[in-house]
């Protein structure tokens, strides 16, 4: 579904991605892990053009993503570390905004879909609240519902639980697990090793802008093949 070839990205003189190649199949769940500054988030952001890459190519269903900006973003949903809900809109308006403005869905239909999504993330009762009245975990669940309202084919998660209090991590991970069960294609940058091990089909381990390992989680966590991965896992597990 997504093919990445020789992806390079520089910020000024600092090369943060040094040639990443991988592919993501439909329905696959990919966990991207690695130390901070390894380029995980940049890699993810390149996939929906929040960053433009300098070299290499990204193909979505065979088409170069550089030539399909708005169309691409309709197909790819993204969830951010800091939620980025629209604070001046209610929860319901947050979820219906893009379908109405971008897909030109009628208000009624958008609200029906939104209420349904809010139900699946367990927040039906918060539809008319403003984001400032929600806990971190609730905000992130709304953000997931907001992305899903666009009916994306791929969901990108950029450290979705890193800004949460520990007791709220579980509720967000639970929502993500439900998505996995529904067969959603997902790319998740995360520090939740247990979660990665449990739900991912593949683990991409990145370090210093390179893709160091691309492995099934069982093998990666039990028996990593590189020293870098071993050293990293020793620190975090």
């Amino acid at each position: 579904m997504i093919d990445v070839q020789g992806l390079k990205k520089r910020f000024g003189n600092n090369e943060v991605l040094k040639g990443i190649s991988t592919s993501i199949k439909k329905g696959e769940v990919i966990a991207v892990i690695g130390p901070s500054g390894s380029g995980k988030s940049t890699f993810l952001r390149c996939l929906n053009l929040l960053e433009t890459h300098d070299e290499g190519s990204i193909l979505l269903e065979g088409k170069d993503i550089n030539e399909m900006e708005l169309h691409l973003r309709k197909k790819i949903g993204m969830v951010f570390q800091h939620f980025n809900l629209f604070p001046h809109l209610t929860v319901l308006e947050n979820v219906t905004f893009a379908p109405q403005q971008v897909l030109k869905t009628s208000r009624n239909e958008a609200e029906t879909v939104a209420l349904d999504l809010l139900k699946t993330v367990g927040l039906s009762d918060k539809a008319n609240s403003y984001p400032s009245n929600l806990s971190g975990g609730q905000k992130q669940r709304v953000a997931i519902a907001r992305a899903l309202a666009m009916k994306p084919e791929v969901m990108l998660f950029d450290e979705p639980t890193s800004a949460l209090d520990p007791e709220m991590v579980k509720e967000v991970l639970q929502v993500m697990k439900n998505l996995v069960k529904l067969g959603m294609t997902m790319v998740i940058v995360t520090h939740e090793m247990g979660f990665a091990k449990e739900v991912a089909d593949r683990v991409l381990f990145m370090d210093d802008g390179k893709l160091v390992e691309d492995q099934e989680p069982a093998i990666f966590f039990e028996n990593p093949s590189t020293d870098r991965a071993k050293a990293f896992l020793e620190k975090v597990l």
Partner: protein, 219 residues
């Protein structure tokens, strides 16, 4: 010390009619200045170099020269060049709109920059086009942040509008001076004019507070 307000009484309606003139003047300049200032601020944060350059140069000129000079240029110099006499009221409105747009564009630019960049990214990630993102996501949040600064600018505009009296527009200030001159007593009419301006500014301040409270409902 001999204040004599009795002599002023017949002229009070004449001076008070100036409120209407001043309000019209301020309202029109304010709306035009706000719209033009918003456009300029979008030029400033935009990617088109020539528009950015234009907006910066514009702001620099209008902030860097006296308001009264700008007004006299527009009122006296433009007819001299073009032969079109635009009248005191229009010249005043034009000057104030052009001038306050320069200040307002800076206020709005700062407000837009203060909106968390995650908001833009979230909108982009949802496929929201630039125009919609600006109008429905970024500007409403920026507006809330800058309301106090904007109110300040509007209050300044209301008070500074008194200088249109220089080119003969019959606002509160001009009327007070005319009454003063005809009675040979200036203190009383000017005091009345001062009171009227003060009340107008108080009303604006209150309106600003009400708006701030309404915008705070999402906090």
């Amino acid at each position: 010390m001999n204040l004599d307000f009795a002599q002023l009484v017949p002229s009070i309606p004449y001076i008070l009619y100036g409120i209407w003139v001043t309000l019209q003047f301020v309202a029109v300049s304010l709306v035009l200045g706000f719209l033009w200032g918003t456009v300029l601020s979008l030029f400033k944060i935009g990617k088109i170099t020539i528009l950015r350059w234009f907006a910066d140069a514009y702001t620099s000129v209008f902030r860097g020269t006296p308001l009264i000079l700008q007004m006299l240029l527009i009122y006296y110099a433009v007819p001299q060049l073009t032969g079109v006499d635009i009248g005191a009221f229009s010249a005043g409105v034009l000057t104030f709109a052009l001038n306050s747009a320069a200040y307002i564009s800076e206020i709005i630019r700062a407000g837009i920059n203060a909106v968390d960049k995650g908001q833009k990214e979230a909108a982009m990630a949802l496929g929201v086009p630039y125009r919609t993102m600006m109008l429905k996501i970024i500007l409403p949040q920026a507006f809330k942040n800058i309301l106090p600064a904007l109110m300040n600018e509007f209050i300044t505009l209301t008070k500074e509008s008194a200088i249109v009296s220089v080119i003969g527009a019959l606002d509160i200030m001009r009327r007070a001076q005319i009454v003063g001159a005809s009675n040979y007593r200036f203190f009383e009419p000017l005091l009345l004019a001062g009171l009227v301006y003060y009340l107008l500014v108080m009303m604006l301040t209150l309106a600003g507070r009400v708006m701030e409270r309404r915008l705070a409902k999402s906090d």
